[in-house]
Amino acid sequence: MSHPEHIIPHGRVLRYNLRERLTHWVAAAAYIYLLSTGLAFWSPWLFWVAAALGGAQVSRMLHPWAGLIFFASVWNMYVMWAQQMKYTDDDRKWWKAVKYYSTNQDDKMPPAGRYNAGQKFLFWGFFWGSIALLVTGVVLWFPEYIPWNLRFLRYLSVLIHPATALFTIGLFMIHLYMGLFAERGAFGSVIRGDVSMAFARRYHPAWYKEIVGESSSPRK
């Protein structure tokens, strides 16, 4: 099945439509705020970040709301992408070959679809991570209303919330590294939405085939 609507002039391919791009940047803005204020609460060495962002009281007040915005955008991603993020046999092969991916020997990688297995892991990591952060975050939002005999909820939340946040920070660092530095063209794809034909063919060959149609030659 070909998807000619993805093929746009000048040999470019539409990778992310406007809704996808907008959702990404809403999530990004919310996450960066959550990360900055969260790190301020995490370590005294970074408490000044909260001061720089308008004071720690303000940070404490807005952090939960930013969390809701972040969760809403992750949920929107789930609605848009959950089908495309399903693990396949090819993804298992991809993970086995991940050392080639991480050493830039992309020609030795099994073909990836619109999202490779690493991107799928990022997605599901953020999806489940944001659910854990939301649940524990609600407890931390209103600790004074948690009854004394349910205090174990608070005990669990103060541990799970930062631990999950650290997990997503790991994902976030790799995501930033890949998008900004490692994969040239990836950052542009989430700004204007398009990538080159060569980008699509090299990093997402299965997706590329889907777009141009099995039988089509790339020049068509």
């Binding site: 040999g11 301020a40 609460f41 995490w42 370590s43 005294p44 060495w45 408490f47 909260a50 720690a56 009281q57 940070s59 404490r60 007040m61 991480s102 050493t103 830039n104 992309d106 020609d107 931390l140 209103f142 600790p143 004074e144 004394w148 205090r151 608070r154 005990y155 669990l156 103060v158 541990l159 930062p162 631990a163 650290l166 920070i169 790991g170 660092m173 790799i174 590294y177 530095f181 490692a182 994969e183 040239r184 063209g185 990538v195 080159s196 034909m197 060569a198 980008f199 063919r201 090299r202 990093y203 030659s217 790339p218 020049r219």
Partner: protein
């Protein structure tokens, strides 16, 4: 005013050293509450409200003496009334003055992320500085005694100050001053422990309370408020006084190993990614593909 008594030896959420740490020879203040001579008159509650100029809150009436069910942000000192049936069938009416315990190792302070929102003076008093409080409520989670209470309007947390302002002027806390039976005492920790020990001995040997003892829980490093109890083996009957209070394990895990692991992982991750870029650099450049054309690609 003596500055020495207000030197700070612990600060919440603080980077770097603490000005008053390790500067004191040896002097910790302590409040002793002898529950065996408390008559539940609530004079200490009134004195606390008066001295600290706290706004009144709603009382409840359930046909008991407990007209205030628990401490509040504006009610720091509360006598808990409990009817306790002993094994021999006799009834005891237990009264325990409840307030901040001023732990030597305070869970509230350990959990607090806000620089200077909770301090511990070298005299052992744990004090909240509402100006620095950010209203996160982590202190509520850190406290094993359910003491810090949030003002819902201002989102700042309050509790007993052990009348720091009075103590720093050489006066005893307001509650101590008001007690008509002398069940409240104030002095150095050593003196109070000795007094409490003697009183417990008296109760054991002369008043038929073989389990009488002193409540100074070691799980929080000892407290700046200690009790004499008729039955020290069962503090729970005094309105839920925990038998072995500790800073919650999850708070310790979060502020200890998780913090170190997390910091090492984050810094290590940044270094790792940087080194990876130096070693491998970017994947092939998009511009090269453009030069060779969409159909070209690499061979």
């Amino acid at each position: 005013m003596s500055q020495a008594i207000l030197r700070v030896q612990k600060i919440s959420g603080h980077a770097g050293s603490v000005p008053g740490e390790d500067t004191q020879r040896e002097y910790t203040v302590c409040k002793l509450i002898d529950t065996t001579t408390c008559i539940g008159c609530k004079a200490c509650e009134v004195a606390c409200m008066e001295w600290n100029d706290l706004p009144f809150g709603e009382t409840v009436f359930g046909n008991t003496y407990q007209t205030m069910p628990e401490t509040r942000w504006n009610y720091w000192n509360l006598i808990l009334f409990n009817e306790h049936e002993r094994e021999d069938g006799s009834l005891m009416w237990l009264m325990r003055k409840n307030q901040c315990m001023h732990c030597a190792e305070p869970g509230c302070l350990a959990a607090c992320p806000a620089d200077g929102a909770i301090v511990q003076y070298t005299n052992g008093i744990v004090d909240f500085q509402q100006a620095n409080c950010i209203g996160c409520g982590y202190c509520i989670t850190g406290c094993p005694f359910d003491i810090p209470k949030m003002n819902p309007k201002t989102h700042r947390v309050f509790k007993c100050t052990l009348c720091t302002d009075r103590v720093s002027e050489g006066l005893e806390p307001a509650c101590i001053k008001s007690c008509p039976t002398g069940c409240l005492h104030f002095g150095s920790k050593d003196d109070m422990l000795e007094l409490a020990g003697n009183r417990s001995k008296q109760l054991r040997e002369h008043s038929n309370f073989p389990n009488a003892g002193v409540y100074d829980p070691p799980g929080v490093g000892g407290t700046g408020v200690i009790y004499v109890l008729h039955d020290a083996s069962n503090p729970e009957v005094y309105g839920g006084l925990p038998k072995n209070p500790r800073v919650p394990w999850s708070v310790k895990l979060w502020k200890g190993p998780l913090k170190w692991l997390g910091n090492v992982a984050m810094v290590g991750g940044l270094i790792g990614l940087f080194v990876h870029y130096l070693r491998y650099g970017p994947k092939e450049r998009e511009e090269e593909d453009l030069v060779s054309g969409p159909g070209g690609g690499k061979t």
